[in-house]
Subunit: 208 residues, 2 copies
DNA sequence: TCTATTTTGTATCGTTCAATACCGAAAGAT
DNA sequence: ATCTTTCGGTATTGAACGATACAAAATAGA
């Protein structure tokens, strides 16, 4: 009923998966239409008919990334367990995801567009908001732990969240530089070494 | 004696400084020749005569960045003091440099080229090597502290170095997302909260 | 003053970019 | 079987890209 004319001859989901991998590897600006259409196995008119534009295709690709890789990485936040376990699992899952053999290295949401140009301003904003949304999710999990009495009231949840997210983002950079899975896991463990001092600290500027 | 023909009518160093700021803000790929020449106040033939190519100009810009911003950030490694002070100063100086009013946010060496394309492969490699060289410098300072008896033999200097560098790299990402100076400094302090546990730990995988 | 040498500004090179016009092909609807 | 609708493939669009050809302009040395 919905299918009136000539049916599409390619798998839209499979094509989107290939596009996601190209964006993941090359970034938004670095991924050319020629490279995208080659990887997707279609011609550019088919791409525009099915996805609208390069920017719209990228948005769908990022959504798909969140629904696949993102679930692997952030899954610990849905499962029961302590806040410490959730963050440790987040970092260790990130280390594994960013060094998965056969996959592009690092995180699409972090590496997809870090420089603003005239053509990618909206894309940068979208990714930036996703990153900041992750920070809010992480802080929310910590505040929940405070409310549950798991962490002291003095814990600076926003600062702790920003710190652990910075570690995860730095792992994306080092993954691009070829860091081994063991090296990334060591970074994750190193970050968890701060947990006791961070959560027991006096909230504002515990270190120094 | 060396000046035979028509003298150059612009200040090469000043033009390079402007080029550095454009690359810093837009990245290597995102900085177009038109934008560079406009900021430098010259035409493209003058750019090519004075610097050779866009890639060669970028290399000189990164060298200048290292000789100016880099000195501010890594200065603590030349000054006397404990390894802990050196790393704390490194992170806090990074937080300040990445949020300096009037300057582009984040680090040119981290953000200049994180996606590899056909035209920037050598640029990516150059920046990647600079990042890894920083990791070696940081680890070297830690090993020096171990040799001096300041840190225990069990300290995993490479892992600690990778962790703190990841924090610094993540700070560049959050600086691009608009994080305040206070937020970046809080990340630096949060990372230092790991120091005691990291350096006293059993070398391999202290956390978890 | 004349020649050699280098820089300057204009105008443009060929390539690649994202995005379409066009038309024949392939399906459902009647 | 014919009409309508949508898709596929070829060819191409105008704009922006990095990089130069060229000739006038400006200096040093003769």
């Amino acid at each position: 009923m919905s299918q009136k004319g000539r049916p599409r001859s390619f798998d839209r989901d499979a094509a989107l998966r290939q596009a996601m991998r190209v964006f993941w590897k090359k970034g938004y600006d670095g991924a050319s239409l020629a490279e995208l259409t080659t990887a997707m196995g279609i011609n550019s008119p088919s791409l525009y008919a099915a996805f609208g534009s390069k920017e719209a295709l990228f948005r769908e690709a990022v959504d798909l990334y969140g629904a696949t890789e993102g679930v692997d990485i952030w899954g610990a936040f849905e499962r029961p367990g302590s806040a410490r376990e959730a963050i440790s699992d987040l970092l260790r899952a990130s280390a594994r995801a960013f060094s998965e053999p056969g996959d592009p290295r690092g995180c699409l949401i972090v590496l997809g567009a870090l420089n603003v140009s005239e053509t990618n301003a909206e894309v940068f904003r979208d990714l930036s908001e996703r990153r900041m949304s992750s920070a809010r999710d992480l802080a929310g999990r910590l505040k929940q732990a405070v409310a549950a009495g798991e962490l002291p009231e003095s814990a600076d949840c926003d600062a702790i969240s920003a710190f652990y997210l910075a570690v995860q983002q730095g792992m994306s950079v080092q993954a691009r530089d070829g860091a081994s899975r063991a090296a990334l896991l060591a970074i994750a463990d190193g970050a968890m070494a701060a947990w006791d001092a961070l959560t027991a600290g006096s909230g504002r500027n515990a270190g120094a």
